[in-house]
């Protein structure tokens, strides 16, 4: 029996092609994932991301708990509503999940975690809570739905549908959030475009979704979500990294704070680690499509090396194939590599990602 979000019927009513996504019955697309991709880059699209899980942590010293729990530093969160992207690590510095932490007050932080890792994440948080801070309340919020409205016109559309949210959210910068009545609105997203991610009571989600649709926001499925996030150079847990990989070899050094004095799970190993691999972008020079797990080969300073594509696909905005790949650390931006695609060697160029942001091609 597949799990369903509160918007399941709405998707079916809109002719979505439904697929099993990690045990969830989710929309892959509503006709054309390429059209949905372009709509998000050019106008506004919306994604049902209710399969992801908000987890509320409440109590007297949430901050202390989070200082130890995650690799990024929650002391960067001083303004209420400010958000932080971080990895949560095992003691061996492997990535349990990547997540976003919202600081709402000193006694209330909200963490949004991935759908596929939600149970694992919550179990881990509860274990650490029991060990370090038994008075904290950790509440998985399965009573809430989440909708990401993304695109240059996304915020304007949201204000059209909920006008009384405008004054509270108009001044929000990227990675800031606000609570307005039953709505939690964050200027965050997984597409590389502007927009809001909105958390609201599950029962209110279908009407809200339909109002956004009536205001001209196009429903967009998991297919477009993947092509958009790949162009935006955003990691996908389970593909670009997992528990066998640390943040430094996953393009996530920028999310790790090793400078402050605080101890956090995985800090010791991370500090002692010699980085041998890096995550880079690839643009296929030849025609074809790069895909996950394809082998990357080449020569650097006379020495042969190999690596692997972690996420590959087609960039609708660039009309070219792109990928993220984990390759040895000595390869540099601008180098050319070969990718083994169905027994042929195709040429690709190593680039610094993101590939596309705010509708513009950067590579």
């Amino acid at each position: 029996m597949l799990k369903m979000t509160p918007l399941n019927q709405a998707h079916r009513d809109m002719n979505a092609k439904m697929v099993d996504f990690g045990g969830w019955d989710m929309p892959l697309h509503y006709g054309s994932q390429l059209d949905e991709h372009h709509k998000v880059r050019q106008d506004a699209g919306m994604f049902d991301v209710s399969h992801m899980l908000p987890v509320d942590i409440k109590g007297d010293n949430v901050r202390d708990f989070l200082r130890r729990l995650v690799a990024n530093n929650v002391d960067k969160l001083t303004l209420p509503g400010k958000a932080l992207y971080s990895c949560m690590l095992t003691p061996q510095a492997g990535i349990i999940d990547d997540l976003i932490i919202y600081f709402l007050s000193e006694t209330w932080f909200r963490i949004v975690v991935n759908a596929g890792t939600a149970d694992k994440d919550v179990a881990w948080m509860l274990k650490k809570r029991d060990e370090w801070a038994p008075n904290l309340e950790i509440t998985p919020r399965r009573d809430l739905a989440m909708i990401a409205v993304q695109g240059p016109n996304a915020r304007a559309k949201v204000w059209q549908v909920i006008p009384n949210s405008q004054s509270a959210t108009e001044e929000l910068k990227q990675f800031q959030s606000a609570v307005i009545g039953q709505y939690f609105i964050a200027r965050t997203g997984y597409t590389g475009e502007d927009g809001f991610e909105i958390i609201l009571p599950a029962a209110d989600a279908p009407a809200f979704w339909k109002s956004l649709y009536a205001a001209g926001v196009a429903p967009a499925g998991l297919g477009a979500r993947d092509t958009l996030r790949l162009e935006a150079g955003m990691n996908l847990y389970g593909q670009d990294m997992d528990e066998t990989k640390n943040p430094l070899e996953s393009g996530l050094s920028w999310t790790v704070d090793l400078k402050s004095e605080r101890d956090f799970i995985g800090k010791q190993i991370l500090s002692d680690t010699v980085v041998t691999h890096q995550l880079v972008g690839l643009v296929l020079v030849d025609r074809g499509v790069l895909r996950s797990h394809q082998l990357v080969v080449g020569q650097k300073d006379g020495v042969e090396y190999s690596g692997e594509i972690t996420s590959g696909g087609f960039s609708p905005t660039m009309n070219q194939s792109i990928a993220l790949a984990r390759i040895p650390a000595q390869i540099t931006i601008g180098d050319e590599v070969d990718v083994i695609v169905r027994d042929k060697k195709l040429r690709a160029k190593v680039v610094k990602y993101p590939f596309v942001r705010n509708g513009k091609v950067l590579v």
């Binding site: 994932q33 390429l34 499509v289 609708p316």
Partner: protein, 129 residues
């Protein structure tokens, strides 16, 4: 979408049209493009290539996956739909007009072994359940 009755079909979702001049035109079916999703890349065989029935001869790549196209009958490639390479989405728009290649059959008896619209429809129906 109804399955055109003037065409024949292979188990691997290719359609075949017999032309007046004795050649056949080959494409992939509407059902195939639906399974694959938005097409982004097509690789066609070279004109002059001699194919055996069921030999891999072309690739249709969608955003989701790469699908091999198998020659429905044996023969020599006499033409390929080159413009399709720049507009692979035409397959999604109308799979039965977005042909891939044409063949001069070397054994016309093989055409009799292909499915008609009714049999292909049954195949598709059984797949969906």
């Amino acid at each position: 979408m109804s399955i055109p009755t003037h065409l024949k079909y292979s188990k691997s979702h290719e359609w075949v049209k017999s032309e007046a001049d004795g050649t056949v035109t080959v494409g992939i079916t509407h059902h195939a493009q639906e399974l694959l999703g938005d097409m982004v890349f097509i690789e066609l065989p070279e004109v002059g290539r001699v194919l055996k029935q069921k030999e891999e001869c072309a690739v249709a790549e969608s955003v989701k996956a790469a699908a091999d196209v198998y020659s429905p009958i044996s023969g020599e490639v006499t033409a390929v739909n080159s413009p399709l390479v720049d507009e692979p989405g035409k397959i999604n728009e109308d799979a039965y007009s977005a042909w891939l290649f044409k063949l001069k059959p070397s054994n016309t008896a093989e055409l009799d072994g292909l499915m008609d619209a009714t049999a292909y429809n049954e195949l598709v129906e059984n797949e969906d359940h």
